[in-house]
Amino acid sequence: MGGEELRFTGNWFIDAGILGFVNLMEEVYGWDLEELQKRIKEEPEKVYYGYFPLAYFYNLSAKSDENRNTLLEAMKEVEGFKGDKHKLLELVWWRYITRLFKDKWVRSKLEKMRKRDIINNQGKIRDPYSDSKYVKLLEKREHLIKAALLMETKDPNSSENIKCEVLVKRIIGKRGELIEKKGAGDIEHKLSLEDFEKLIKNSHEKSKLWEELPKECKNKINKAIEVHYELEQYLRERWRHIASNSVLGDNTKESKKLSKFFRLPIDSSFYHNYLFFNQSKGIKEQFNAFKNILDGKVRKISKDLSKFLPSDNEFPNILYTTFDISQLQEQIPNLLAYLICVDVGMIDVNYHNAGKILFYSPDLEFCYETNRKLREWTKSLRESNNSRFIFKVTWWAIIDMMTEKKSSYSLENMYLIQLYRDEKGRIINNQAFAKVEYIGIPKLHASILLDDQIREALNTSLSVNGSNIWLLGRFLRQKPLYPLILKHVRNGIKDSGPIRWRASLYALAIDAKLRSIGRDSGLFGNFFFERPARAVAGVKEYYHDMNQNAWNVRKAIGDKNIIYPLFSAVRRHHRNAFVNILLKTLLQANNKESASRVNSYIFRRILTNDESWEDFALALVVGLAGGGADVGSSEESEE
């Protein structure tokens, strides 16, 4: 049976999941989009019930050599598997996924150092720890540690009586009390697994501090270590049996307890409590929940899956807090598999409070490639601690892709999705709202950006009021460029700062072009559809005219004193004043040829141009005030 090719749906949240799915498979198996599409087409069940679960849980496990080997072994098994999809899932789950979590599971059990850690408020053993031998060994270890710490002996340095606790503290380098009185003579130790492992290390190495311990104390601790090893051995043995699944038995109360005892120690800061991540689920429930996801048996989703749905707290009426996806599932059979991958599609940005980000556009290939670039660049951002903004980096990835693919069609509907970090630097996982910023740009802007010359010219920062503003960013945000150039020129005139000639003129040319286009309202006519293609030519034509005449005005007018009144006239939108100042000066110009050209420009671009005369007028001020030393020879200017 052939599978359906992966396609974006147009719904950014689902598509983010699809992208996450693609990223996951690439990260784990090294398949690029093309390879993944091919495999889905050829063997969809193997992908969704074999490779995907393996990849999903491998991604959540510790990245050890052992786990990598397990993955490679599992891949071979999946590759050669012939049979039912559910059998494949069972095989992968019980034989390989469980193996991926063996160490983590054992450690999570060993970490409980006191009985108090595994009992509930009623004093009963909690289900995840409900194994009599485990509890017995844990108690034994706890008792021996406590006994050792409470022992008294002579201080080797002062010959006074001293508790073993003090000497142990010296060994593990801890300051606080290791013994805690719990009232009514009840005493507990406060040693963590890490502390205990330090003791084990010192005993193995027979360190000086260890050797200073009194013999009785050493003996007790050694016994505790022996019990610890026995406990670890026991747990590993128990876990080994889980691979057969038979250890769990039927749906009895006892088997449910066992299922919880063997719960896969997985958690997600993104999905937090969702189905198999929920702490109360046993390994069997985890398996079934995952199977239901693959089978599409989950019909409703809520905030635990999508951060963008309302929470119970926000909506007292619970009916509004879940979202029925059954209809969507008819269109997208593997919808849930994608939805649990949204976080994998996101890029972790360890910069300021950026948290996780995701670039989204409705074209899968474009989105995939752009995010790949973005991922690489954000990594270098982290390494270099560069202060560029996420927005800028995102845009660079987009522009890079855009110029590579020469496609402007997918740029109109883009989003930058962002999950914030909390003050401790963790990705927010407490149902807090995540930001979705629309960053689409119209086709018109995109087509202008596709031009290398224009793009390069705009990729500069202009100094404005003491700060630097990224011109391209401003354009991408679809803000008018004229006000920025006006401020930049003012900055140059007032503070004698450098005026970026080329960037300013291109910005003014774009502004003028967009203004002139803005007045054409003929939707759906040829003019409308040809607009983007013509826009670039128009911008360039304007730029060349501005550039030529900015230079001509410099040649014609040596008197820089008119810059201020000219600038003032532009700023006050006083067209006639601007023209009159200029004409009066041009009448006295020595270079008549240049003066004539400027005059022609005044008539063509200023006097007869109600929409954008300010852009063309300001270009002349740039010419008078700016650099542009070699404009005459190459038609380009120095900045």
């Binding site: 067209r575 006639n576 023209v579 009159n580 004409l583 009066k584 041009l586 009448l587 110009a589 008549k592 003066a595 004539s596 005059n599 022609s600 008539f603 063509r604 006097l607 007869t608």
Partner: protein, 245 residues
């Protein structure tokens, strides 16, 4: 578009003949020809509305010459120029920029300032004052021959022809069917007889009038001139800027 051209005289006082239009016409055509010969050629072809006009030559201070042949001016000389065709203005102003030294009726001037003027937003109902007199002619049979006849504001045909003339200009400027809506009420009128070419005279009228009607039609008159023979210096008006007008 409308411009004020201020000229610095070489000598003071400088002479200003009453019939100064054809000198200014010569200046305009020469400067246009210098910059854009093909445009100049087009402007010379008859039967085409030229869509530009200009005022009489004026001086900041003036008095009647002793021999009453003209005026004597002091300080700056100036005149207005207006057109509905930017290329004409561009060529004329460029011509002046290239060579600001001008000679009119034997007097030498330097163009010192070319000033673009703001145009009024609304024209209907405003009071207009002529900067050069309005000429309206028709053909009438006199002594058995069809002869050119200069109409006066006392004749209804004067207004009828002004309106038809405006409508024709309207078509040339806007390229669409002209409206009918135009009315003109003369408040005062003063005839002037000009020798436009040696031996050829034209009686035209200095008017103060109010005009009402379609803004486009009125604007055609404002920028290209009211009446006929605008391109030889007739029919330029200004809006009276005095309060209450």
């Amino acid at each position: 578009m409308r411009f004020l051209l201020r000229l610095q005289p070489e000598n003071e006082p400088f002479r200003i003949p009453f019939n100064n239009q054809h000198y200014l016409q010569g200046l305009i055509y020469r400067r246009i020809q210098r910059v854009d010969p093909s445009l100049s050629l087009r402007l010379h072809s008859p039967k085409i509305p030229k869509l530009f006009t200009y005022s009489l030559f004026m001086a900041e201070e003036r008095k009647l010459a002793e021999d009453r042949s003209g005026l004597l001016g002091r300080k700056h000389g100036f005149f207005y120029f207006s057109t509905a065709v930017p290329e004409i203005a561009e060529a004329f102003i460029t011509g002046l920029l290239e060579d600001p030294e001008v000679e009119l009726w034997g007097e030498r001037f330097t163009v010192e300032e070319v000033k673009a003027l703001a145009e009024p937003e609304r024209l209907s109902g405003r009071k207009f004052v002529t900067l050069s007199p309005v000429a309206v002619t028709t053909k009438r049979i006199q002594f058995g021959r069809l002869k050119s006849y200069d109409l006066s504001p006392t004749e209804p045909k004067f207004y009828e022809l002004i309106r038809e003339n405006l409508r024709e200009k309207y078509i040339h400027i806007y390229g669409i069917k002209p409206p009918e809506d135009f009315e003109m009420r003369v408040l005062s009128a003063k005839p002037k007889r000009f020798e436009v070419k040696p031996g050829i005279f034209q009686t035209a009228w200095h008017l103060v009038f109010r005009a009402y009607g379609d803004e486009g039609l009125l604007r055609a008159g404002y920028i290209a001139g009211f009446g006929e023979k605008n391109s030889i210096g007739f029919g330029m008006v200004k809006v009276d800027g005095r309060r209450g007008t």
